[in-house]
């Protein structure tokens, strides 16, 4: 067992109406990864914000290398060797890698001018240590999310951090890039760093973490070595009850053709043919950049069409903007709730009803009573954890924000619902609730197109699976025949074909 470098004891924190942390303990050991686990809103991010001084704690103490500390901002924590990589990355898109890494800590020559050469060289070394091949002068906006994460880690290395916190780092990562992140984490472990790793993908806990601290509703449940844990008892500690079967697939009778796409093409997708039936889930698999989201956005009227015909529920369908798509019964739930899924300044109720205000109109006004009833219905049904429906979306935990977006989608009562990464950043319990909701809609005859980078989710919930690569349909698999290998081989065969051509 490594030496304890960081110890949080009896941390307490309240927000108006929410007791977010009650006497929570967390220990970090040298050369080990500590998983911090809990449902949405359990208080994981809040605990990390307290650690790094973003939020002031109401009680408890923090011992770092044996000494009590109390940071007033992230900068102080960083200077002391505690770095945090946030759920939402904090890099400046228009700036270069080395500029971001040295932001606020620029190296200067004696003359006072920036010492760009040294900064670039140091950045190059750091990038090598995290094993990415990138030009330090590359701009952040040209990097993939995985690469951006590596840059954040490199930044932590520059600060010579002894404790590195990662808040849901694989949340937005495609499977194949998770492995390279794990490689770097193992290397950091070997260098004796202490890591805190927050995730909802429990499988990763067993792969990369040494111990786990579990929170539930802001309370400390326990700290255990991972080898004493298995999936079942971990989940029941997190949610406080037993959860059976992760993917509650139900078979429903396939209805009539709901969405028929023929030869849809534009700058992003090419010759897409697909048929979506009422009461089924059509999973869309593919690598990042395979055109899955672009296909959804095209159907939703966000990208112009060049060719192709679409019918929805038997009627010709065409949308030039989302409002037209919604009017014809198609709703697209975006993959990035922070950027374009929610209005963070607005309250929960306002966000949920935003797309269906015409349904709760009374004369010219919004029917406030109807709104309250519908919203509290959703809050209850989907189990959104919020002190009130007037809480701003920005104050909810990530998973609960996602549930708000889903409620908004459901409230439009669509015929066709496109879900883009519907369970990103959502805890096991809530995931299951969302799967149940998907089933419920299926039974009501909604046709669902589900884009997901999580292979088990695609395999577990879809009736059929469509594989996309490079903006084209590469194949279709039935639920019975589909396996991870078959999907990958459909994708890979294409890559090989391409390579063969280019050689």
């Amino acid at each position: 067992m490594g030496k304890m470098i960081l110890q949080l004891k009896g941390i307490d924190k309240s927000f108006p109406g929410v007791h977010a942390l009650r006497e929570v303990d967390l220990n970090v050991y040298e050369g080990e990864v500590m998983a911090l686990l809990g449902e949405n809103g359990a208080g994981k991010s809040t605990l990390m914000k307290v650690l790094t001084g973003v939020l002031a704690r109401d009680g408890g103490e923090i011992l770092y290398q044996g000494k009590p500390v109390s940071y007033r901002n992230v900068r102080q924590a960083q200077d002391d060797g505690i770095a945090i990589i946030h759920q939402e990355l904090n890099l400046i898109p228009k700036m270069r890698i080395y500029e971001n890494i040295f932001l606020g800590r620029e190296r200067k020559k004696k003359s006072g001018a920036l010492d760009i050469r040294t900064m670039i060289e140091t950045t190059r070394e750091l990038l090598e240590r995290v094993r990415v091949q990138l030009d330090p002068r590359e701009r952040i906006e040209n990097l993939s999310i995985a690469q951006q994460q590596m840059v954040e880690i490199a930044k932590a290395l520059l600060l010579d951090a002894k404790v590195i916190v990662m808040d849901e780092p694989t949340d937005a990562l495609p499977d194949e890039e998770v492995d390279s992140l794990f490689g770097v984490i193992r290397q950091l472990k070997a260098q004796g760093k202490g890591l805190i790793y927050i995730t909802h993908r429990l499988k990763e806990v067993f792969e990369i973490c040494d111990r786990a601290t579990i929170l539930r509703d802001g309370s400390f449940i326990g700290e255990l070595p991972v080898r004493e844990l298995n999936m079942e008892n971990l989940v029941s500690m997190m949610v406080g009850r037993e959860l059976t079967e992760q993917f509650p697939y139900v078979k429903t009778a396939r209805g009539r053709e709901m969405l028929v796409v023929k030869g849809l093409s534009n700058a992003h997708v090419h010759d897409i043919d697909l048929t979506l039936y009422a009461g089924e889930v059509l999973g869309v698999a593919g690598l990042v950049g395979s055109g899955r989201t672009e296909l959804a956005k095209t159907l939703y009227g966000l990208y112009p069409w060049e060719k192709g015909e679409v019918t929805l529920n038997g009627k010709p369908y065409r949308a030039e903007k989302p409002s037209e798509a919604i009017a014809q019964g198609l709703f697209y739930m975006t993959e990035d709730r922070k950027r374009n899924g929610l209005v963070m300044l607005m309250d929960v109720a306002g966000n949920i009803t935003l797309s269906s205000l015409s349904r709760i109109r009374k004369g010219m006004s919004i029917d406030a009573k109807a709104e309250r009833e519908i919203v509290s219905d959703y809050i209850e049904k989907i189990n959104i954890r919020t002190p009130s429906m007037r809480q701003r979306a920005r104050n909810l935990s990530g998973g609960n924000q996602q549930k708000v977006v889903l409620s908004k989608a459901l409230m439009t009562e669509p015929n066709v619902l496109i879900l883009d990464e519907p369970t990103r950043g959502i805890d096991v319990g809530a995931k299951k609730e969302i799967y149940h909701l998907i089933n419920e809609m299926k039974e009501r005859g909604v046709a669902i197109l589900m884009i997901s980078s999580e292979m088990p989710e695609i395999l577990g919930m879809s009736d059929r699976i469509l594989v996309l690569y490079d903006g084209r349909v590469r194949g279709e698999l039935d639920r019975e025949e589909a396996t991870q290998e078959k999907i990958m081989s459909l994708i890979l065969s294409d890559i090989q074909r391409k390579e063969a051509v280019s050689v």
Binding site: S14, P16, D58, Y300, L302, K321, P322, S323, A325, I326, A327, F331, Y332, T334, R339, N340, G341, L342, V343, M344, L345, M346, G350, T353, L354, S355, L357, S358, R361, M364, S365, I366, A368, K408, T412
Partner: protein, 418 residues
């Protein structure tokens, strides 16, 4: 700290606050009954005291008046004590901190309004009177009407600085029509209609360039500001168009600026202003359009993806701003019975200042329209007290600038904490 000492602090705070307020109120009242301005220079003051003593006046009021400065100082000390207790209480009590924060963030403009009223009432006898408040309200009605429109633009995260010029042009057009048709009894309605249409047209133009062409609101309205000021100069030929009683539409038209109801107690511009704010409040808080406004201001992309017709809402918002500039144009022109080419100049700044002092974030997406009128009121009261106390109008401009800075500073601070 235990609950007992919390209770003691709380009671202490209440006692200090009540004593302080009561003392301040009775001192100010005593000064008022001696018809004295608190900060009149020493000589006049002692003369007034001497006069009162000579007249055989004795009693509590005189004593209060004589020692006004000391007593007010004591009152301030007491209030400071109350604040100190509050600060201590906030340190130890979660609930008290929550309430204080709520009051200071959600109700800040109201708190400022109350404070400003209190302080100004101490500064001049005639400040806290019905007549003076009617006067202030009538004065602010011009840019408060503009501010209601500008609020729509700012809520979207945009801005509209063309309103002052649109005001001038629509007012000038109204006066122009009246003076060209001195015999026609319909001319007043025609003038009003034309002014409103000009407002709507200007707003539509702004909206078109901002929403459809995706240009920056600041640049677009800077351009239209210049255009409409120029058009006003062209129309008026650089000189004022005066309205005379001989014109057929004179009474009806000027009534909108000069008239009053309730036996002259309630000027029409105040009624117009109240109506406009009531309507704006309804639109923004009770209708889908209002929701869409807040949503777009908060996150335009998310609004688009939620199926909101972003371009339409934006265009409509700037059109409302233009329309209200048209209304203000009528009111201003009617008030002085003449349209000058420089009318409404720098009114857009007062309007923006009112919105900002009313606590609306220039980033868009949050704010309360009724606080805009409070913002306008604070500016109006400031101008008023500076006038009453004979401060030169040059300084008034300086003070206004400082107040705006202070307001924005408070806003920035509260955003950081949130």
């Amino acid at each position: 700290m235990n609950s007992q000492s919390k209770a003691i602090l709380f009671v202490l705070m209440l006692v200090c606050a009540i004593l302080g307020l009561a003392l301040a109120a009775s001192v100010v009242n005593a000064c008022h009954s001696f018809d004295n301005v608190l900060f009149l220079d020493g000589a006049a003051r002692s003369a007034r005291v001497a006069q009162a003593v000579e007249a055989g006046e004795t009693g509590l009021k005189l004593t209060l008046f004589q020692n006004a400065f000391w007593l007010l100082g004591l009152a301030i000390l007491l209030l400071a004590g109350a604040l100190w207790c509050l600060a201590r209480l906030n340190k130890v009590s979660e609930r008290s901190r929550g309430i204080t924060k709520l009051v200071l963030t959600s109700y800040r403009p109201l708190v400022i309004l109350v404070l400003v009223t209190l302080v100004f009432s101490c500064l001049h006898v005639r400040f806290f009177t019905v007549g003076n408040f009617t006067n202030i309200l009538r004065q602010i009605s011009h840019y408060a009407i503009l501010a209601a429109g500008v609020y729509f633009a700012i809520l979207l995260g945009g801005i509209d600085i063309s309103v002052g010029s649109v005001l001038a042009f629509s007012g000038a057009m109204g006066a122009f029509i009246l003076s060209r048709m001195p015999e026609n009894s319909w001319s007043a309605l025609l003038a009003i209609g034309a002014a409103l249409l000009i407002g709507i047209g200007a707003g539509l133009a702004n909206g078109f360039f901002i929403a459809r062409c995706g240009l920056q609101p600041m640049i677009v309205t800077l351009a239209t500001m210049s255009i409409f000021r120029g058009l006003t100069l062209v129309l008026t030929n650089g000189a004022a168009i005066s309205l005379s009683k001989k014109m057929a539409g004179y009474g009806l038209f000027t009534g909108l600026g000069q008239g009053a109801v309730l036996w002259g107690a309630l000027p029409i511009p105040i009624i117009l202003m109240a109506l406009i704010y009531a309507l704006a409040f309804y639109l923004l808080n009770r209708t889908a359009f209002g929701r869409h406004m807040y949503a777009i201001g908060g996150n335009e992309e998310a609004s688009l993806l939620s199926g909101i017709n972003v371009q339409k809402v934006k265009t409509l918002a700037y059109t409302i701003s233009g329309l209200l500039a048209g209304v203000a144009g009528i009111v201003v022109t009617a008030r002085v019975a003449s349209a000058t080419p420089t009318a409404g100049q720098s009114y857009e700044m007062d309007a923006i200042a009112a919105v900002v002092i009313g606590g609306t974030s220039l980033r868009g997406g949050e704010g309360k329209v009724l606080y805009t009128i409070i913002g306008a009121l604070i500016i109006g009261m400031l101008n008023n007290i500076l006038n009453l106390t004979n401060v030169s109008s040059y300084y008034q401009t300086v003070v206004k600038g400082i107040v705006i800075l202070a307001a924005v500073l408070l806003d920035a601070k509260s955003v950081k904490k949130d």
